[in-house]
């Protein structure tokens, strides 16, 4: 395994680790907004690392261009999508954990 | 230049005309263009029938590739005969629909109506002529999608739920055919029907092929509304615009009956379908139940179009009955009934459409006293009704006659008796309408609306079909000669498959080389 392979496998493993942490965060976090944060942050970093690892595998040709295009596309669209989702959730009247717990307290206090 | 492409033109012509009809946009233009194209298709199919009768089979390899690799169009006496009926009815319905749809379809949708009609015609002629199993599925989808559009064009809101139910059941039927073709392809590796027939006979009986056969049969019987799977037909034919019902009732289900005949005789072979799988008994029982149940249902309906819709399902029962007799005479009776039934139903639905055009409703009460007010329309309805009952000197009598003789030829007098009893029901439901028309007086409410005869543009096509009804009742040369040569040819291909399969079994190895 020459030097390039070692670096690319390291990148791949790091990317997979972050993807996995995002998935666990998505599954275990209590309310929606924390889950959005967990999912979108790790999405971007996992994409960068995995595609970076794959980039080292290819000699410079059409596939490299495609990989770079996918990376740029993901980096532009997935944060936008998460932002738009959180914004429309906010519009839709979804309360964060803190707000909903304080709201429960007011009802119980009444 | 034309004869060389005679097999492909009846499909290509309407296919190309449809987008042009959409571009033309204005009603009169697209109507004229559609009628012209349909007339041309009729002339072409006439030449095709005469060529098929003289030369036997015409094969046309689309794209220049030899059959098992490219797609092949196969025209023989059987499908040219049905194609003639389809194109004739389509031309007459198009002439009729100019005025009929003014009362039933929004003006904005008139150009779309003619485009959908041309697409349906292209799909039906594609199903008839193609020799490739998957191509048949594609053309089936074209005609089905065009039919769902046509049914949903009516102004009554119930046509929407009827079209939706027809779409769901039609798609399930088409997907069953796709599964069946897939299973056959899995075992044989080819899609061309003739090639399929040769390779299926190489396997004496494999479970996958039998399942494929079963799925294709169920899929096709959904499309032709065989008894248990007919629930989509009555609401669809009742609530569709009258011009659409006239076209569909005469052609759509008949083409599906032809597809069943083609699969049984040229692809699977009679002994595989009727002897190994015992389909003959199943089809006969379903046909008889269809005849009685649906004829009875017809007698209790209040809406005349529903009466005729249930009568159509019963008549399809007659065709399947002829098919299930597994004899040259039985098949001939079915082929003749396909042609004659198209004539009968076309005239009946056009007459009902004319009544709807004038009176605005097709309930049996709407027919009260119309005998005097709309004499020509009701006379057409009477003659076509007699033809359904099977009174001598009409086309209906001819097809019933051949059906009964085919049954008696096999000594199966029970079936013959059932056929005759079936037509008793026909007397009841046709009689109810005629009684309302001639023996009841016009109710006062309608006296003021001076109901007069419909314009000649609707009457001429109606009476052309009625005269054809009578003509083919008397001079049966064309229909019997075409039908008998068709059934002989179908049986002959079946026997040819049998003996070609025999020498195949001797050397299993050369099955691959048979056609490559």
């Amino acid at each position: 395994m020459d030097f390039l392979d070692i670096v690319s496998s390291m990148l791949l493993l790091a990317g997979v680790f972050f993807g996995f942490s995002g998935a666990v965060g998505l599954f275990r976090f209590p309310d929606f907004f924390t889950r959005v944060h967990a999912a979108s942050v790790t999405d971007s970093i996992a994409a960068i690392l995995i595609i970076g690892g794959l980039l080292l595998q290819t000699s410079f040709d059409l596939n490299t261009a495609k990989l770079v295009f996918i990376l740029l596309f993901l980096l532009v669209t997935s944060p936008t999508a998460s932002h738009a989702l959180a914004k429309s959730a906010r519009h839709g009247g979804l309360l964060t954990l803190a707000e909903s717990s304080s709201q429960d307290k007011q009802e119980s206090a009444k | 230049m034309l004869e060389q492409h005679l097999a492909a033109l009846p499909i290509i012509l309407p296919l190309i005309a449809a987008p042009i009809a959409l571009i033309l946009g204005r009603t009169v233009l697209s109507w004229g263009f559609a009628t012209l194209v349909s007339g041309l298709a009729f002339i072409l199919s006439w030449q095709l029938l005469s060529a098929a009768l003289s030369e036997g089979v015409i094969s046309y390899a689309v794209g220049g590739w030899a059959p098992p690799w490219g797609i092949e169009l196969r025209v023989d006496a059987a499908n040219a005969f049905v194609l003639l009926a389809v194109t004739a009815i389509s031309t007459l319905v198009l002439v009729y629909s100019k005025e009929s749809i003014e009362k039933e379809v929004k003006v904005a949708n008139h150009a779309l109506f003619y485009t959908a009609h041309l697409l349906c015609l292209a799909g039906l002629s594609g199903i008839l002529i193609t020799g490739d199993a998957f191509n048949l599925f594609v053309f089936l989808e074209i005609s089905s999608l065009a039919t769902y559009t046509l049914v949903s064009l009516a102004s009554d809101r119930r046509c929407l739920t009827a079209a939706f139910r027809y779409l769901v059941m039609g798609t399930i039927g088409a997907t069953f055919i796709l599964i069946g073709v897939g299973l056959l392809y899995m075992k044989t590796g080819t899609l061309n029907m003739m090639d399929l027939a040769v390779r299926i006979d190489a396997y004496d009986s494999s479970r996958t092929i039998n399942t494929g056969l079963a799925f294709i049969m169920v899929g096709v019987s959904i499309k032709l509304a065989l008894f248990p799977l007919h629930m989509w037909l009555p609401p669809a034919y009742t609530h569709a615009p009258s011009a659409v019902t006239a076209f569909l009732a005469s052609t759509a289900t008949k083409v599906a009956v032809y597809v069943m005949i083609r699969f049984i005789f040229t692809v699977f072979g009679i002994d595989h379908v009727f002897v190994d799988m015992g389909m003959g008994l199943i089809l006969m029982v379903l046909a008889v139940v269809a005849i009685f149940k649906c004829s009875y249902m017809a007698t209790v309906q209040s809406n005349v179009k529903t009466i005729l819709a249930y009568s159509s399902v019963a008549q399809i029962g007659y065709m399947i009955l002829g098919l299930s007799l597994v004899s040259v005479a039985g098949l001939m009776a079915s082929m003749i009934h396909i042609f004659n039934h198209a004539l009968m139903k076309g005239a009946l639905f056009m007459a009902v459409g004319a009544v709807f055009y004038r009176v605005g409703s097709v309930d049996i009460k709407a027919f009260a006293g119309l005998g005097r007010k709309m004499p020509l329309t009701m006379a057409a309805f009477t003659i076509a009704g007699l033809s359904i009952i099977g009174v001598p000197l009409t086309a209906g009598f001819v097809s019933k006659w051949y059906l009964v003789t085919a049954a008696l030829e096999q000594g199966n007098w029970i079936v013959a008796a059932l056929v005759l009893i079936g037509s008793l029901f026909a007397i009841i439901y046709i009689g109810r309408v005629l009684e309302a028309a001639y023996f009841q007086k016009l109710p006062e409410s309608r006296k003021s609306e001076n109901i007069k005869e419909v314009s000649w543009l609707m009457l001429v096509p109606m009476w052309v079909i009625v005269i054809a009804n009578i003509y083919f009742g008397i001079d049966t040369s064309l229909t019997t000669e075409a039908a008998s040569s068709a059934s002989e040819w179908l049986f002959q291909t079946n026997n040819m498959l049998e003996n070609s399969a025999l020498e195949n079994n001797v050397s299993e190895a050369n099955v691959q080389e048979v056609s490559s």
Binding site: - | L145, S152, R158, L160, F164, L167, I172, L178, P235
Partner: protein
């Protein structure tokens, strides 16, 4: 063990067909019927594609040094079938929109009382 791998694909395809078919028949909402129809058709596509697969063969695009290709014919058939499926879905959904405007509901059990026999 290898027997399972031989027919695993086909058993899952049959299961999916029956799931889609069940949804179409038992669904009360018309949109869910269309979803069931799509599931039923997609599983038929999988039957065709898993027929054409050759283990060890690659996709039917010619690349030097590769001789074993999967069968291209089922892919062509399924390309056609997918677009046919979408066309039927589009017409079905537009019918549902019109039914909603005409009847005010898309639940199958609510049609009967709105009209005489459907």
């Amino acid at each position: 063990m290898s027997f399972i791998f031989d027919y695993y694909n086909y058993w899952i395809v049959v299961f999916l067909m029956m799931a889609g078919f069940y949804i179409v028949i038992s669904a009360n909402n018309l949109v869910k019927k269309i979803v069931g129809l799509n599931i039923f058709q997609t599983s038929v596509f999988m039957l065709y594609i898993s027929m054409g697969k050759v283990t060890g063969g690659t996709a039917p695009i010619v690349v030097e040094g590769v001789t074993q290709y999967s069968n291209p014919l089922p892919h062509v058939l399924i390309l056609t079938a997918i677009v046919v499926g979408v066309a039927t879905t589009a017409v079905g959904l537009s019918l549902i929109v019109r039914i909603k405007q005409a009847y005010g509901t898309v639940e199958e059990n609510e049609f009967e009382n709105k009209d005489d026999a459907i």
